[in-house]
Symmetry: C2
Subunit: 208 residues, 2 copies
Amino acid sequence: MVREITDIARTHLARDGAAGLSLRAVAREMGMASSAIHRYFPTKDDLLTALIIDGYNAIGDAAEASQQGQDPTGRWLALCHAVRDFALERPHEYALLYGSPVPGYQAPADTIAPAMRTTLVYGRIISDARPVSPVAVPPPAVLGPDVEALRSVMPGVSDEVVTPALTAWTALFGAVSFELFGQFGDTITHRREIFDHGMRSLARYLGL
Amino acid sequence: MVREITDIARTHLARDGAAGLSLRAVAREMGMASSAIHRYFPTKDDLLTALIIDGYNAIGDAAEASQQGQDPTGRWLALCHAVRDFALERPHEYALLYGSPVPGYQAPADTIAPAMRTTLVYGRIISDARPVSPVAVPPPAVLGPDVEALRSVMPGVSDEVVTPALTAWTALFGAVSFELFGQFGDTITHRREIFDHGMRSLARYLGL
DNA sequence: GCTCGTCAAGAGCACTGCTCTCTTTTCTGT
DNA sequence: ACAGAAAAGAGAGCAGTGCTCTTGACGAGC
């Protein structure tokens, strides 16, 4: 039952986006009274949470599947394209995960574990490669605890590389979001190629 | 009149976000009938467009004001912090400008000129500095037209640097969005410092 | 056989964007 | 100064939303 609701909700989400998702419309499509759906998902946020968890798991699957034993740069590029392909195929789900949060929605704790899956794929790449960034500089002392926290995702990586690695990670999502959210307008025509070139240059930035 | 409506709408936007913005609530606060507001903004999208244009101009103002004749790296850092400060001060407006687009809304053409203001500030920095990136590689031939289009924002910059410059630009917004949209959770405590360190490393990546 | 908990339905509340009609106000041209 | 036109606002109404509360069906356990 929950499965059927989330499946229908996902198709509505894919079509209309998170804000256009309507519990009543889902109920209608199931031939159910609008009130009955609240038995399974008491509030719309609960349904959104389920979709968010599914979404993180879907992109986590894609991220993990992209890692087929290449060299670090190949794995990094594969991960980048996995994220971008997911975003292009399921834009509304990507927006739900990495875009502006829907107002009033507070992500519960059980979303963070699925969200970490994709991050951990990245962490493993960096951790395995132990890159030496050509432009890295040691982080200031205040950042000690934060560097330590970040290193738990990429064990064994030196202080100098942990922070550029974070920057590259956010840069990936910045590039995807910029493209997906229409910031490029129509200035860029070969989007995949320019994305690929940008991610390759980030690999060199990291020293992969 | 239009001014008063947008002012009130902006306070509502700051409080409730774009999706929570209600024409009726704005009308109520003005002591007006809900229908009367449609005379000034026929549709909610029109009001959003006005807010978006104002928002782009506000961040454009901040970006331009940050450029006080330092060296290129200083100007780049000042621009980064101007963007980040704007995002932290007016998160819902930032989300409206650079976050996931509100569903069904199609940005009209008159938003792109204000949007370009901030981009042009960046373009001038790169154009003035003509950096030589230590990790740059010439873009593939297919990207010729795109590189040309990008160069119109940063005249005189070499092919090798145009694409990393785009990557750094999207990386800036990726870092701000990650922080603002809660992707860091509570792993990062010194957010300003880690942002600053990341943007400095991007400056070296660009060869500024 | 009879309770009792689960599931679904229906009605209803308060809210939304938007349209239509009707009235009032304001401005303009003579 | 005054009549007419144009603009501005009010009100009712439609279709839709999330969510709550109450009522009815149905099957399992005592």
